[in-house]
């Protein structure tokens, strides 16, 4: 497996709290993507971060990539109940983005 975590992680927090989810990967990559999958839906890309960007923000989301420790994180500030979903990190297999290797995912439940 490309990813350090083998099983789906679970987090349950109160609305308004901040949360950080982490992924560690084994094989060198220059791109990490974070996806969110809501119940009954397919994954949707949230943030794509490249190796020359240590941090990338999009609204309440913040992704980091540390190539030295081969890890990436996704933080959500001021969580909402609508943030409830499974969050995945993913890296491309090979040079193109089309073949993705997904991590095990984090099931985030935000309690209103």
């Amino acid at each position: 497996s490309q990813w350090g975590e083998e099983n789906l992680q679970a987090l349950s927090i109160q609305e308004g709290e901040d949360v950080t989810m982490n992924c560690s990967y084994k094989t060198y990559t220059t791109v990490v993507q974070w996806y969110r999958q809501k119940s009954g839906k397919g994954p949707a890309q949230l943030i794509l971060i490249r190796s020359n960007e240590r941090e990338k923000r999009s609204g309440r989301l913040r992704a980091t990539l540390d190539t030295s420790s081969q890890s990436s994180s996704l933080s959500i500030t001021g969580t909402l109940a609508t943030d409830t979903a499974v969050y995945f990190c993913a890296t491309p297999q090979g040079s193109a983005l089309g073949r993705l290797h997904f991590g095990a995912g984090t099931q985030l439940i935000v309690i209103p």
Partner: protein, 115 residues
């Protein structure tokens, strides 16, 4: 906007029978389509990547004989699960993109139940 539709959304088939699922890209040209299977535990397996005008690349443990894929144009792809058995159960997702550096858009998936 870019959307990917998959149908049927869910299907039940008898063990040993086959089932075809379809993937339609709307609002962009799906140069490449990747098919994945997601387990009930949420893990993803990449089945194959299909790129228009190129050979379809199957991943280890997946074969054309079992999962034949058609990608006849820039908006449509289909995959058949032949001779389905219990281990083929899962959510089959297609992810389509325009170029090698653009975002992959996923459909909602086809959930296959084998009885």
């Amino acid at each position: 906007g870019a959307l990917v539709y998959q149908y049927p959304r869910r299907t039940i088939c008898k063990s040993g029978t086959s089932m075809r699922m379809e993937c339609q890209a709307v609002g962009f040209q799906a140069t490449s389509v990747a098919w994945y299977r997601q387990s009930p535990q949420k893990t993803f397996e990449l089945i194959a990547l299909s790129t228009v005008n190129s050979a379809i690349k199957y991943e280890q443990n997946f074969t054309q004989e079992k999962f034949p894929i058609s990608h006849p144009n820039l908006s449509f792809s289909s995959m058949t699960v032949l001779n389905a058995y219990l281990e083929d159960r899962g959510l089959y997702l297609c992810g389509a993109r325009y170029t090698s550096n653009t975002e992959v858009f996923f459909g909602k998936g086809t959930r296959l139940t084998v009885v």
